[in-house]
Symmetry: C2
Subunit: 428 residues, 2 copies
Amino acid sequence: MAYTKVVIVGGGFGGLQVATRLRRAPLDIYLIDKTNHHLFQPLLYQVASAALSPADVAIPLREILRGQTNTTVIMGEVVDLDKEKRLITLGNGDIVGYDYLVLAVGARHSYFGHDEWEEVAPGLKTVKDALQIREKVLLSFEKAERSDSIQEAAKYLNFVIIGAGPTGVEMAGAIAEIAHKTMFKNFRRIKPEKSKIYLIEGAPRVLPPYPETLSIRARKDLEKLGVQVLTGTIVSEITSEGVKFGNQTIEAKNIIWAAGNQASPLLRKLDTELDRQGRVIVEPDLTIPDHPEIFVIGDGALAKDKKGNPLPGIAPVAIQQGQYVAKLIRKNINDEKRKPFRYRDKGSMATIGKFKAVGYLGKIKFKGIFAWIFWAGLHVGYLVGFRNRFSVMLQWFFHYLTGIRGARLINRSIEEDLPKGRGTKITN
Amino acid sequence: MAYTKVVIVGGGFGGLQVATRLRRAPLDIYLIDKTNHHLFQPLLYQVASAALSPADVAIPLREILRGQTNTTVIMGEVVDLDKEKRLITLGNGDIVGYDYLVLAVGARHSYFGHDEWEEVAPGLKTVKDALQIREKVLLSFEKAERSDSIQEAAKYLNFVIIGAGPTGVEMAGAIAEIAHKTMFKNFRRIKPEKSKIYLIEGAPRVLPPYPETLSIRARKDLEKLGVQVLTGTIVSEITSEGVKFGNQTIEAKNIIWAAGNQASPLLRKLDTELDRQGRVIVEPDLTIPDHPEIFVIGDGALAKDKKGNPLPGIAPVAIQQGQYVAKLIRKNINDEKRKPFRYRDKGSMATIGKFKAVGYLGKIKFKGIFAWIFWAGLHVGYLVGFRNRFSVMLQWFFHYLTGIRGARLINRSIEEDLPKGRGTKITN
């Protein structure tokens, strides 16, 4: 007798949760991911800011599921699906059939119709993104040092982060620390501590979904670190030379996008209702209409709380959805008997810099060093794998003690990006 | 009064040694490197084999020289030099003048006139090289798992390493460990432990410059790990499908080149005598004829020992040469009064796998676990930076205890490399 086939697409927080919760079930499970690793995205900004190595926050899916014999990991990209035949198609035409399908495919950044901004203002979702941002930021200091005027150097020392959600706030704080602490005394011609870091947000305050007192505190903390915070500001143009808003321009060679999300385009193949961000409007049991065997969870799903407000695209939502779906599948619960998914909000946290964080847990608010210690403990605790926890703690120990960032690596050449043929004499 | 200007090109073992030995001298020092980091090359194969992260073996030059105020680090690529005007030119046309010039520019791999082999048989010199090899090796197991026949999978599970010097021996041992230990139970369709690893060497034995008993021991250790060693074998053709020698062919998708070196092409601009490998034939004081102000050290120099034998391209030679040159510059010793450079051979070591290494120190030979412990201690001890030493020890602790390799990251897509349109059904 053939086992029931469960195909999970995406090895992020949601998808991995479904797989591991089914570890003892008599099922035939396939976990498909484009990459070979589960990414601990809440710490990805620390890779982009050179404090951690990619391997600290990315764990091979095969390694996590090594002993789980009912599960096969497939590295591959799903490009099509057929709801009626219950088949999905991979990039090279290979086919995977399913009885249950769980789409936990996540989101990429959205540039609100300005896709051309991506090249100059990269976003932060994958390890590759983080390495590109890291290289760009580090290379910028090097280019400033090779500049032949203060004006030219200034452009390389201006950093603009667009979007003041948790990722934007964390990146702005980290870049301020790089400029003012990490790079201290590293250069002879420029002063990295003269860098200007701008954080631009369209809403009236940073961390918009947080309680207002925490937004105010986060802004103060950022300003103490030297970040210039511009709220209520809508960017109208981004080029390789800078950012425009209203009738102002900031000249900057470093622009990072942390403003908008767009769910994976694969979800369009479901031929069901999506919202403006491309998320699937799911039923109360996280399925799509008329297909109780297809679940959509995580950043790709628009699910709602009791009051009808959409749930945010954060790890705890994806994890709880994964647990819920695993239970339905494990018990093979008929769609008429399913209780709706309910999210238990355990709060939210964002870190701003060394010993600085804000967070809330129900009505309780945290800030300052206590919030930071809580943040650090929680994140290390939730990391998968013993080795990764140790490694992150060790890197943090050195980083927060000395200000040194251990992963300051540039692998590409600097020459091609510099103005040519000026014959600037570097020695005097 | 202007200080004497010392320009060092290359921040490897030799160049960095010159800079740090001049730390208290009243000089104006410039250290120029293409990348932003000093690379601890003896452990680079551990990055290529996913045991360490790049940041563990690469330390920013600026960080090392942060407190050394007489030294300016310049990230840049030297493309030309003018011996008469005492100027060097960077990629974008910027100019650096010098009073003393130290060329510590290293070597790349050489394909003995078959440059087209580079694309299919990458070598291992830089962090970028190591990451490419790592991705290729890891991706190969994934492709094998996605193959639709045993024959196709076998090609992806065949690994060929060409050249059995220390790098080749170390890579072969590491890949054998990956296949037989790290990947154990990670796959459901293939058995990684059925991988075949070939180590091909033109000379009659592995580790040709080592004492013969050690070569024999290294070969035995490799064979115990499952490596097939082919000595006295000259490769005649390499393609993306495999390797030819004599009238034999090994079908393999993974080929790694560890066979030949070619000194940096920049040295040709010196317009002085080079050997077949492009190395500068230096004077006894490591300068070039008629230019006592230009030194060439490390892998780019052909220096000789008392008996007239060329010195090998290894870190201890570069380091001792750096110390020698720093002394001449610091004391501003006239070229007529310079004593010739003498290399004190402190021995050599190569590691084969967990608890397996060979080495010698004068007439004393080491092998087995004692050699391995000595190897591990020596390499951690010589690593620059406290943080890196700790991090490497921690990674090793987990790696050698559990067989897990912490840096198993693939960032590129698998689909483009797979045969298309076969419609293979993955689920049964």
